[in-house]
Amino acid sequence: MTLGAAVTAGVAGAPGVCATALEASGLTLRFGAVQALDGVSFEVAEGELFAIIGPNGAGKSSLFNLLSRTYRPSSGRISYFGRDLLALRAHQLAGAGIVRTFQNVGLFKPLTVLDNVMIGRTTHTRRGVLSSGLRLPVSRREESDTRERAMGALRAVGAAELAGRPAGLLPYGLQKRVEIARALVMEPRMLLLDEPVAGMSQAERNDLADLVRSLNAGMGLTVVLVEHDMGVVMRLAQRVLVLDFGRVVAVGAPQDVQHDEGVIRAYLGEPMREERR
């Protein structure tokens, strides 16, 4: 990772020149007297696969919710390719190229798999209520384009044959894939994954890890993931940020972080404690 170059290139503005995808500085989040995050700073380079880990209650979800603009930080800044992320509202993130997935699958369960994925094109389609309601030719053309892209994305995650089924009836692992297909049609520059393998079987975990790696390596997507499963993180991430009690304990390559004294202390000497089931 050319993080050094990324830092010097942080001169804002022109995409392609600036290789820092995400820069958080001094993020603090308080809920009343509870300090969920305390001065968290880090950078993610463009094209990097970056993981945020930590014991239960360390502040991972709080940090994720700041990045996805669900919470507003008490203080601190987040910039995204030189833009002020905090100036964007949650529904504007998609248009800016930031796409998130949900811990418990953010699919619309009564809708078909295809509709679920097509919804991802919302920010890329221009036709309004009237022209799409009246099915004018322009909007029909746009819709068939949307449909093709959605089918393409479903093929890419291996779920094309499920297009007509209600999303809520699929097994969990497949639902996650459909959610990722939706993320793909949104043409993201950065993917935020909230515990993508939580609740999955070991086989599903391996499959999903492969999928995430191929999105990162094959398509050059910047990926930021919060994850409990240490095995997946250590195999997948290029760099890892370890949180404990709302503070950054360590940042670095997985193998370095694993041997960091602070990290071992945070995990009470059992680095694999978080491995569940």
Binding site: S68, H91, G106, F108, L111, M118, I119, T122, V129, M186
Partner: protein, 298 residues
């Protein structure tokens, strides 16, 4: 038999109108979990405006009606954009109170602008009817059924196939995920209010037709949509339609038969009948016949 067919037809016509009123409640509830207590007054405003265009401004009815739709949709849109939008995220109770506020404003405005006397709703049919043997089918009821069915088909097609219909269903299913997918909720809510305004106006105009008249209390008839939506389940649009037709038919049959066959129940038992059905349904199926989620507590 003749009486029965006659009553059944009147019941279907009334039910079609109730179905539209019920859809108006359901579409806003599904999008934003808010019960719009001003639906009845929006209905009244639409009916009065259309009547005024047709009779006061002498426009042909088929011109006045679409303008009435536009007017009522604008009331819904303006209220969503100007008021409700700023209350999103507040407790549901706050939003409910705001809709009661809109109801009060419209209820005061209607007699002020158009007077409180009963008036004709401006439809071209009056009491004319098409006869088949002994049975008379009033034209206004025939057209009520036709228009309501067209409106319902358009609504369901929009909901099922159009991009914005799908967006609305997505937002109803999971708001947070909808936001993450880039769906602007403000626009979804606005659309829900526009649709509610449109169906309210259609319902109002036909509710004010023969044998009824148009007067400011017509808004109260929206209360009869409550048995309909509770019968169908408040979060189910198809339930609203089934409930609407059921309540309309029950009401007409009771109004037709009960005064002779069960005179001891009094004259106006048909007004109470839908509520009795509603209470019975609540006891047996608290979420309605088609509802899926626990009904909203208020």
């Amino acid at each position: 038999m003749t009486t029965f067919v006659q009553l059944l037809f009147a019941g279907v016509a009334l039910g079609a109108v109730y179905a539209l009123v019920a859809i108006g409640f359901t579409v806003i509830f599904k999008a934003s979990r808010v019960i719009n207590f001003a639906q009845g007054q929006m209905l009244a405003a639409g009916a009065f405006f259309t009547s005024w265009l047709a009779l006061g401004a002498n426009l042909p009815f088929w011109v006045a009606l679409p303008l009435g739709l536009l007017f009522t949709a604008s009331i819904g849109l303006a209220f969503q954009l100007g008021v409700i939008r700023f209350a999103i995220g507040r407790p549901d109770f706050t939003v409910v109170m705001l809709t009661l506020g809109l109801a009060a404003v419209l209820e005061a405005a209607i007699p002020t602008v158009w007077g409180s006397y009963p008036r004709s709703n401006g439809d071209p049919w009056g009491s004319s009817a098409v006869h088949a043997g002994q049975i008379a089918f009033p034209w206004v009821q025939v057209w009520a059924i036709v228009t309501a069915i067209l409106a319902l088909v358009a609504f369901f097609a929009f909901n099922r196939y159009s991009r914005w219909g799908v967006a609305m269903r997505a937002a109803a299913s999971d708001q947070e995920a909808a936001v993450a997918a880039g769906i602007p909720l403000t626009r979804v809510y606005a659309l829900a209010w526009v649709l509610a305004g449109v169906v309210a106006c259609v319902a109002g105009v036909f509710l004010a037709g023969y044998p009824n008249q148009l007067d400011p209390t017509i808004g109260d008839s929206a209360l009869l949509a409550f048995p309909a939506i509770i019968l169908g389940g408040i979060d189910s649009t198809s339930g609203a339609v089934v409930g609407g037709f059921a309540i309309g038919i029950i009401q007409e049959l009771v109004a037709g038969y009960q005064p002779q066959d069960a005179a001891w129940l009094g004259h106006d038992f048909y007004i109470a009948a839908p509520y009795i059905v509603m209470i019975a349904v609540l006891l047996v199926r608290p979420y309605g016949l088609f509802g899926s989620r626990p009904a909203e507590r208020l």
